[in-house]
């Protein structure tokens, strides 16, 4: 019974994220009515964020039921980590969209949530780390929240660069009319970074302590640690330069995208490691 329910919830969550992706894409390209007709694609912009909001509780239910089926703690193993990360991305978006008026940023967030969720299905079931430690849950939780917030910051940065490019080229049509205002994107990106940075810091500190405890020191661990430190330095640099030298807008967006790129690299190393060895360790960002 439980297995069918897990599959049903997984399918429903995927369907909701996929539908939201399609609706966001249709809205951004101006389908079906184009920008000239009254009403235009506005209903899509209203319903796509609601679909993401609808997917979040389904996703949470899927995580809970599947962890019960597999008898695995949800914060252990890359399988659950990825699934939880994608749910947190969607949840953070749902909570932030009205406050920052960045509904359309969902166009970049929903595909991430969908990809993470699908990847979690095919990466493996994750049997739990062999190298357990008391600090591991803190490490995983902090990293997952950090990844979710950085994904949103990354999405806002991409949207900002698109808007900025249109403004500099004096092209005020098409996607420019559909994305949030430039300043709102810059502000949202900054706030997501401010919120995500302490999480990343905690993740790196706990990860370092954990690595020392279990005496991990392979090439993959060192590479992951190096990428994590680089992403931490990049995000920290963006925040510091904004406060000290007024680095906003385009420069901050590039810094955020670079930092997020290294975060994704860390995540990829986990996925590769998990795919090649049964010894799943923890979540992203761990050195």
């Amino acid at each position: 019974m439980k297995v069918e329910l897990v599959d049903l919830l997984f399918g429903a969550t995927v369907a909701a994220y996929a539908a939201a992706c399609l609706m966001f894409t249709a809205f951004l390209v101006g389908w079906p009515s184009g920008e000239s007709a009254a009403g235009g694609a506005r209903p899509l912009a209203r319903w796509a964020p609601r679909l993401v909001a609808f997917a979040v509780p389904l996703h949470a239910a899927h995580i809970v039921t599947s962890s019960l089926v597999l008898h695995v703690c949800p914060v252990e193993g890359i399988h659950f980590a990825m699934s939880i990360a994608s749910m947190l991305i969607a949840l953070a978006y749902v909570l932030a969209r009205s406050r920052f008026r960045i509904d359309v940023v969902g166009a970049f967030v929903a595909p991430f949530a969908l990809t993470f969720l699908l990847a979690s299905r095919f990466v493996g079931t994750g049997g739990g780390p062999k190298l357990r430690s008391a600090i591991l849950p803190f490490h995983v939780a902090a990293n997952l929240i950090g990844v979710a917030l950085f994904t949103l910051a990354f999405a806002a940065a991409i949207a900002y660069l698109l808007q900025e490019r249109h403004l500099k080229q004096k092209n005020l049509h098409g996607v420019f009319q559909r994305l949030p205002p430039l300043d709102a994107l810059d502000r949202a990106e900054h706030r997501f970074l401010v919120a995500g940075f302490p999480m990343l810091t905690i993740g790196i500190l706990t990860g370092t302590l954990w690595a020392r405890e279990v005496e991990a020191g392979g090439t993959a661990e060192i590479a992951r640690a190096a990428f994590s430190y680089v992403s931490w330095a990049l995000f920290g640099g963006v925040l510091l330069l904004r406060a000290a030298a007024g680095w906003r807008g385009r420069r901050a967006a590039y810094g955020t995208i670079a930092g997020f790129g290294f975060t994704v690299l860390v995540l990829l190393l986990y996925i590769v490691r998990d795919a090649t060895s049964a010894g799943a360790v923890a979540a992203v960002g761990a050195p």
Partner: protein, 452 residues
């Protein structure tokens, strides 16, 4: 017949339009004068900056007298003599064309700026004033209120109101696309050009602060007073560039007053906060190279006018769809209106036939005493017979009236054939509509119910 007499941006220059334009205070007087004219059955007065128009309903046989009365009142209202010069500016539209004109005006298809939203509110105000003055109550009231529904359809079903079609609205739209809510941002008006003033006014309404900077401080102070803004001295321009988020420039300077170096220095003090220039001046007030600075955007008059042209083209592309909706709504109204024209004849015809049948019943009942107990059933049978007998003439008359414009002739023929000659040619639609409500059913379905 419905009439529309007046002048608009298409027929008269602003000097003439402003002579006839009426404020809310004088509207009641004009309406009272027009309402007192015996040639007019109903009347309303529309006055906007681009249009002064009297819309009226007059008996068909007094149309010329009604037109003269309206022209006379318009001239009197403007303190002018009705002469050949004024006559050249005035148009008069009659009958179905006048109905179409009213619908097009309300839907903003006859406006100077196609699709502008204000006209509907202005016509609604004129309608409310005329209803309050008791000058609008029947067919014309229905016509005008139907035009509102048509205008609403045009607005929601087409893109006639989409896009920005003035420099100031483009400037406001651009600022909102960059900053979103302007309540946390400051606007600086540089110079005192008319167009920039309009843009700054629109921007300033939602902004945290609005400042005016001009070479002449007195002029800046005077303008700031009008706009509930604050004036700043010309020497403080560079410092103002640190405070402002949107700068609307329109000085008469022959050389740029805002240079790249100046803005670079300001951006350092602004700590990179976004700065938007809308430069409406010709020659330009802001060096084009300013646009290359990070987080600074400069839009000149050509850029803005390009947006205006694009908006206008988009609206024109929607014109055919809008006209189609107007045609549908006008056709519906005209069908109703012509149906109302024959309604008094239908009511009288049915009343007469029924009276004849029932008089015969009463006469016969004297000889048919054994049927006294069945009187109710006989009455019901007669009612049913009247309905069935008149069903075809009633529906055909109404249908013909809705489709063709010879409703009056047809009604006259029916009046002649049924000896209803003492009936007035047309009655108050409101009254006849009321009279029609409790009418005996005239459909087969209802007849069946009656017989059974």
């Amino acid at each position: 017949m419905i009439l529309a007499v007046g002048l608009s941006h298409r027929t008269a220059p602003v000097e003439v339009r402003e002579r006839l334009a009426t404020g809310a205070d004088a509207l009641a007087t004009v309406l009272a004068r027009l309402g007192a004219r015996s040639e007019l059955t109903e009347v309303m007065f529309v006055s906007t900056c681009n249009r002064v128009e009297v819309i009226a309903l007059a008996p068909d046989d007094r149309v010329d007298a009604a037109l003269s009365a309206i022209r006379e009142e318009l001239a009197r209202h403007g303190g002018l003599a009705y002469d050949a010069e004024l006559a050249a500016y005035l148009y008069d539209i009659r009958g179905d064309e006048a109905v179409r004109h009213i619908f097009r005006v309300a839907a903003s298809l006859d406006s100077m700026v196609l699709g502008e939203p204000q006209i509907l509110g202005q016509v609604k105000d004129a309608y409310d004033a005329a209803v309050a003055a008791g000058a609008l109550r029947g067919k014309l009231a229905r016509c005008v209120s139907r035009s509102f529904a048509a205008a609403k359809r045009v607005r929601t079903e087409t893109g006639i109101g989409a896009g920005t079609v003035s420099i100031s609205s483009v400037a406001v739209d651009l600022a909102r696309r960059v900053f979103g809510d302007l309540s946390d941002h400051a606007v600086l008006l540089l110079g005192a050009g008319e167009m920039a003033e309009a843009a700054a006014r629109s921007l300033g309404r939602g902004a945290r602060a609005l400042r005016v900077c001009n070479r002449s401080f007195d002029r800046a102070a005077a303008l700031a007073g009008e706009m509930h803004a604050s004036a700043v001295p010309w020497e403080g321009l560079e410092a103002e560039l640190v405070q402002a988020d949107v700068v609307v420039a329109s000085t008469a300077s022959r050389t740029p007053v805002v240079t790249r170096d100046m803005v670079k220095r300001a951006m350092r003090s602004r700590r990179g906060r976004t700065l938007l220039f809308t430069d409406i001046a010709v020659p330009r007030n802001v060096e084009p190279a300013v646009h290359t600075i990070d987080n600074v955007y400069v839009y000149n008059v050509d850029d803005l006018e390009q947006e205006v042209a694009r908006g206008m083209n988009a609206r024109r592309a929607e014109l055919a769809a809008a006209e189609k909706i107007v045609t549908e709504e006008v056709t519906q109204f005209l069908a109703w209106s012509r149906g109302m024209e024959v309604q008094p004849t239908v009511v009288a015809m049915r009343a007469k036939v029924r009276a004849v049948f029932f008089a015969e019943l009463e006469r016969s009942m004297g000889r048919l005493k054994h049927l006294e107990g069945d009187r109710a059933a006989l009455a019901q049978m007669l009612d049913s017979a009247v309905n069935k007998f008149l069903h075809a003439p009633t529906t055909r008359l109404k249908a013909r009236a809705a489709d063709k414009s010879d409703a009056a002739e047809l009604a006259a023929a029916v009046r002649f054939l049924f000896d209803l000659e003492d009936l007035p040619a047309a009655a108050d639609p409101e009254q006849t509509e009321r009279a029609n409500q409790p009418q005996a059913p005239d459909t087969d379905e209802d007849d069946d119910r009656t017989v059974n």
